[in-house]
């Protein structure tokens, strides 16, 4: 009897879902969905966390155990994660180096490669290639000082990206703009930029008929796609790791390019692509009928009507309400304290202001080692972003509140505390409310970033839509987010009127400086 109970407990205890993550671009979505469906077919429960914002969020999330597996590339492991720029051109050597070093350092396992390489591809418009006679990167280097680049932030910063082109080819562009992966092909064909970075397997290369220049001097290291497994899953579910291994060496470059084309050009949903691939690889049984009706993209109306959108809106509002509430409770008392030490106040407020200048994605990345991924780090980041407008307005509002009235109140025998509570604070209320409104609107906008760390909200369809080049999906998140910002501001405007109601408007007595 006891033995059965223990077995039952083990089964229940072992039934935690395996969390499959991906980075925010189409190929990563497809591979992650294949991992997920394969695991489900082998009897595991799966939770999907797609679209985690780039390597600096996805990899720490894996190490921390916030996700269990996600698709990564050996070249990325070597350069971006390991920080080793002595790239050898040999794929086997790079895989061996990365899997050994990161296995030892972080306890993760790089499974045997999936079977294709996806290294950088530098692309130009057909017309540019024709008029300047470009076929290789050496050709491009000759004319690069006349061309404008639109490159992903990753590519600009990584030693194997733009710096490698400078080093190997002496290539220096006239101007470099940082572009999101989702918009760079459009920017190229529309002539906003002349040169972009892409990946060998990009479906958009064919879709937009752009020309990929040959890496004739092998500046780019090999980028083999690999399922990377986190330490928790290795320990808890070795069978899941075996299941994921079934995909090793099964996806060739031609197949991957075709899958990307299906996603980017034909708009086939990720789940359908993943399923049909697993079926054709004989890894899962054919249940094609299940996906029949969904085998096309939804319209905007369908996206907006979808039930999930309601839940995302609620989550978005929760993120804003909790972070803003906490910021109000923290910032207003802090500002009150600061009014008592005016010599230090500016320093403190400026320090808080510096937080405002940290880019959202970077702030969110700093949170991962402390709070993992999900709702908590998103709340902390939003809280930090909300502080400045509230502290600044509260402090200034209280300090500058009708000096004549405050002085008279003190001269008539109010204590400092009474002057603060009964005179300065109520007089500063409209200014404080204005600060809260500013913070709220910033918050609603910034909360879309929460999607990058798997916290949900209306950023979810925006991030997915960007990754999957699905404009309607982007709009299904962006439009409600914009409306939400207006609604929140409107609601706070009403609150503001209630706070300051009755008060004689305008005509405050001006005190002469004494």
């Amino acid at each position: 009897m006891t033995r059965y109970l223990i077995v039952a407990a083990l089964i229940i205890g072992g039934a935690r879902p395996i969390i499959v993550g991906s980075k925010p671009f189409g190929e990563s979505y497809i591979l992650a969905e294949m991992f997920a469906q394969l695991l489900e077919a082998r009897g595991f429960q799966v939770e999907r966390r797609p679209g985690l914002g780039q390597t600096l969020i996805a990899y720490p999330a894996l190490v921390k155990g916030a996700i269990d597996v996600y698709p990564e590339y050996t070249g990325t492991g070597l350069l971006a994660i390991l920080g080793d720029s002595t790239a050898s051109g040999d794929p086997r050597a790079v895989y061996a180096r990365v899997s050994t070093a990161l296995g030892r350092r972080d306890g993760v396992r790089w499974l045997p490669p999936l079977g294709f390489e996806n290294t950088y591809a530098i692309a130009v418009r057909q017309s540019t290639a024709d008029s300047l006679h470009l076929t290789t990167l050496s050709d491009l280097a000759r004319v690069s000082s006349r061309l404008r680049g639109g490159l992903t932030a990753d590519f600009i910063g990584r030693p194997d990206g733009l710096p490698a082109l400078g080093r190997v080819y002496g290539l220096h562009l006239a101007e470099v703009k940082a572009l999101l992966p989702a918009v760079k092909y459009q920017a190229l064909v529309q002539g906003a930029v002349d040169v972009i970075d892409g990946y060998e397997t990009d479906g958009s290369i064919e879709r937009y008929r752009v020309v990929v220049l040959t890496d004739d001097r092998h500046a780019f290291p090999p980028y083999e796609a690999v399922a990377v497994v986190g330490p928790a899953l290795l320990r808890d579910e070795p069978r899941a790791v075996l299941a994921l291994n079934e995909l090793s060496d099964r996806i060739g470059v031609a197949r991957m390019r075709a899958l990307n084309r299906q996603l980017e050009v034909e708009g086939v949903p990720v789940s359908v692509i993943a399923h049909s691939t697993l079926v054709s690889l004989h890894l899962v049984g054919d249940t094609a009928g299940t996906f029949g009706p969904q085998a096309r993209r939804a319209t905007l109306l369908e996206y907006i009507r979808e039930e999930r959108l309601g839940a995302l809106t609620v989550r978005h509002l929760e993120l804003v309400a909790v972070s803003l509430g906490a910021a109000i409770l923290f910032a207003i008392p802090l500002a009150l304290v600061l009014t008592a030490i005016p010599t230090r106040a500016e320093t403190v407020i400026r320090a808080v202001g510096v937080l405002q200048t940290v880019p959202g994605i970077a702030l969110v990345a700093f949170m991962i080692p402390l709070f993992g991924i999900g709702v908590l780090p998103a709340l902390v980041a939003l809280f930090l972003y909300s502080l400045y407008p509230i502290i600044r307005n509260t402090y200034t509002g209280i300090r500058d509140a009708d000096p004549g009235a405050a002085d008279a109140a003190e001269a008539l025998g109010m204590t400092g505390r009474q002057v603060l509570l009964y005179v300065r604070l109520p007089l500063a209320a409209p200014v404080i409310m204005a600060g809260i409104r500013t913070a709220a609107v910033i918050d609603v906008g910034t909360a879309t970033l929460a999607a990058f760390i798997g916290a949900g909200g209306l950023g979810d369809p925006i991030v997915s839509g960007l990754a999957l080049s699905d404009t309607r999906m982007i709009l299904s998140g962006a439009i409600p987010a914009a409306l939400l910002a207006l609604a929140v501001d409107g609601a706070l405007a009403v609150t503001e009127r209630l706070v300051t109601t009755g008060r004689g408007r305008g005509r405050r007595s001006d005190a002469r400086p004494r």
Binding site: G404, A409, E410, A411, Y422, V423, R503
Partner: protein, 243 residues
């Protein structure tokens, strides 16, 4: 009559070069109205504000009812002294009645009619004015409310910092009359800062002329007019065309 306030050797420097009060001594009798007159920077407002300890002097002593003010709790001291600033200093987010009832409220007095009685005293009909916002008052009405607020808790001393300075000539004359009547009825000790010599002569029992932080002359108006003590006082009288 005993001295309500005795100011002894008061000195206040804002910095090494700016001296606001330079060894000032005055005594103010109970029930007396004293005007502090002088031009901008003469130290008159600073002197007024040392009395209710809104400004702390560097040296010197102020006796209030035979106690040093420096030994009293400044908050409790201020609650015994009415205060009227030039702009009225009404709290814009409180209605007139609450403004006038400020000091009784601070003192924990439960009498609900105090504010209305004080309003009546300064010639404002409570039924009309008590529920108004300060922004709905004229300049003269605002100063009347400020005086009502200063008087509401029945203070021993009333401090007024150019209370009629920002008003037009007709309103100023009305308020000066009202103030004189009030003082005659209540007998409150009052210290009035002004830069208007005519106003000082009209309202005060004694006038202290301040110049560069020093008292040039401290005398009743008639004596001041008849025998100015210094060149400066003489010039002041000439410029004001009061002789």
């Amino acid at each position: 009559m005993t001295a309500a306030l005795r100011i002894e050797c008061l000195t206040k420097r804002w910095s090494s070069t700016i001296t606001a009060l330079d060894n000032v001594s005055l005594d103010i009798k109970s029930g007396e109205c004293v005007a502090l007159i002088g031009e901008s920077g003469s130290g008159k407002t600073t002197l007024l504000r040392t009395i209710n300890r809104m400004v702390e002097p560097d040296s010197g002593v102020i006796w209030f009812n035979d106690r040093r003010t420096a030994e009293l709790n400044p908050v409790e001291l201020r609650r015994q002294m009415g205060y009227v600033p030039q702009d009225g200093g009404l709290l814009p987010h409180w209605r007139v009645r609450r403004n006038v009832g400020l000091v009784p409220w601070l003192l924990g007095k439960k009498d609900g009619d105090i504010a209305d009685r004080a309003l009546t005293l300064v010639g404002l009909e409570p039924a009309t004015f008590a529920t108004r916002w300060p922004s709905a008052l004229s300049g003269g009405q605002r100063q009347r409310v400020a005086i009502a607020r200063a008087l509401a808790a029945d203070p021993t001393v009333l401090l007024l910092d150019e209370p009629f300075g920002a008003l037009d000539a007709i309103t100023r004359a009305e308020l000066q009359d009202a103030f004189r009547d009030l003082r005659r009825r209540l007998g409150t000790t009052a210290i009035l800062v002004t830069h208007d010599l005519r106003e000082a002569i009209e309202l005060a029992d004694r006038i202290a002329v301040l110049h560069q932080g020093r008292v040039e002359q401290y005398a009743p108006p008639s004596e001041l007019l008849a025998t100015p003590a210094t060149e400066y006082v003489s010039t002041l009288l000439d410029r004001a065309h009061v002789r």
